[in-house]
Symmetry: C2
Subunit: 300 residues, 2 copies
Amino acid sequence: MNNNQLVECVPNFSEGRRPEVVEAIVDCFRGKKGVKLLDYSCDTDHNRMVITAAGQPGAMKAAVVDAIGVAVERIDLRQHQGVHPRLGAADVIPFIPLRNMTMQEAVVLAKEVGHAAAERFGLPVYLYEAAATASHRTNLADVRKGGFEGLALKMQDQAWQPDFGPSQPHPTAGATIIGARPFLIAYNILLNSNDLDAAKAIAKAIRFSSGGLPACKALGLRLDTQEKVQVSINLTDITQTTLPQVFDAVCMEAATRGISVAGSELIGLMPLQALVDTTAHYLKLDDFSIDRVLEHTLWE
Amino acid sequence: MNNNQLVECVPNFSEGRRPEVVEAIVDCFRGKKGVKLLDYSCDTDHNRMVITAAGQPGAMKAAVVDAIGVAVERIDLRQHQGVHPRLGAADVIPFIPLRNMTMQEAVVLAKEVGHAAAERFGLPVYLYEAAATASHRTNLADVRKGGFEGLALKMQDQAWQPDFGPSQPHPTAGATIIGARPFLIAYNILLNSNDLDAAKAIAKAIRFSSGGLPACKALGLRLDTQEKVQVSINLTDITQTTLPQVFDAVCMEAATRGISVAGSELIGLMPLQALVDTTAHYLKLDDFSIDRVLEHTLWE
């Protein structure tokens, strides 16, 4: 692999409440040669953290395997509660090729990390998205279905044998889902409402799997700390559905139910193109493109 | 001056209709070592062109003086018509410090260019904004007041002697206004209306000089090619007034007059921060900042 390759990793861990555990996991990405920690955020309601890091594939692999080790050691899913679905302590670990790297090379990296994590920590590992080894394992929601609590039963099914590691859950850390995929925007819209059914109905209306917007995944969730419900969104391809299209669709679906949008939040990072789309849409800008952004033209 | 200094120059020339003249001027910024042509655009109604270039101060100086020479040679303001106010063929030439450069160093560069243009082309030059030599010459609109047609009379006034060059207008090229200033967003909002008085009233309502938004300059103009009027805006400091604030203010002022906004256009470039402001505003994004833009974190 050449040294100019750049891969992003956005691992999700099932810990968003204990700062000492959060910091121990984040530390695996700090001050490592060849790895840059770009962002991390915790959600208390989700009881979940998301790290965004970019770097060289080899250095990233070492950092991620270390972080999985910390999660396995410090998180006990038997004690874990949170509104976000999860299968394991180190729940989902996607690799995203950013520069001089093919999706196939990101798949190889995902498999190397999965193999190492299974060997070192006795962890069952499922490969998903571009790394999936069967079509029914491609979609994250399908792999995660049943959650940690249903995992032992699920793993008795021949169709759900892991790609690496033992064929029963790790007793405290469940299983880990590792894969490769294109860049994704993780984005939550908070509603001025406590009506979980409404949030679920709005999510259903906008997500592609139930006839909504292309490349849009969505869940309705309750946030106990805010006494508000939210629509939690993954936008997997902004060339198919833009961020303002998603926001406007949620506003419209909410309005028909007499609900207004309180605000929204981005998890991790968004690409410049998403800001270009949003700016052009709301300012009704003609002929606007990424080439009109000063920093982009300078950095190009 | 150190080699890592980066200055932007956004020269405005009074030619937006004859492609061969436009290209001859733009060519001064093409393929020059140390200068990068970032953008250029022509407006037929304004009969004006705006170039955006960035580069090293010395290389930029040479390119800009060449371009002034082409404008003086090829543009005859006695034949020039357009809706945008102008004083000269090479009308306004601002230098904007971008990196490793102080405003005072940009002022020195503006003065060097003004001196050279006056010497080489017999052109009167006024210094404005941070380069102004008297407070009444700071504001571009004041320096340009009266236009090319009123320049001979204006220059008889002791208060309007040029900073460089002869004390009468260049017969065909008028005078040139050169200065240094912070980054500015040039932005036009097109109205679904042919009512010039309405466009002027909206411009007056939003511009700072008549009690409107801080750091906002605005003019109401008629665009003959579109049979629509526009509000032509300069936003000189987006930390004081953001782009969405300006857009919403124009929409509101227009709505009270029964007019809707047809669209908007950016002249030149906008800084990433303007896209961040716009995205955060319309998506109601909490905790959003430039550090959440993928490319920014990578390029930093």
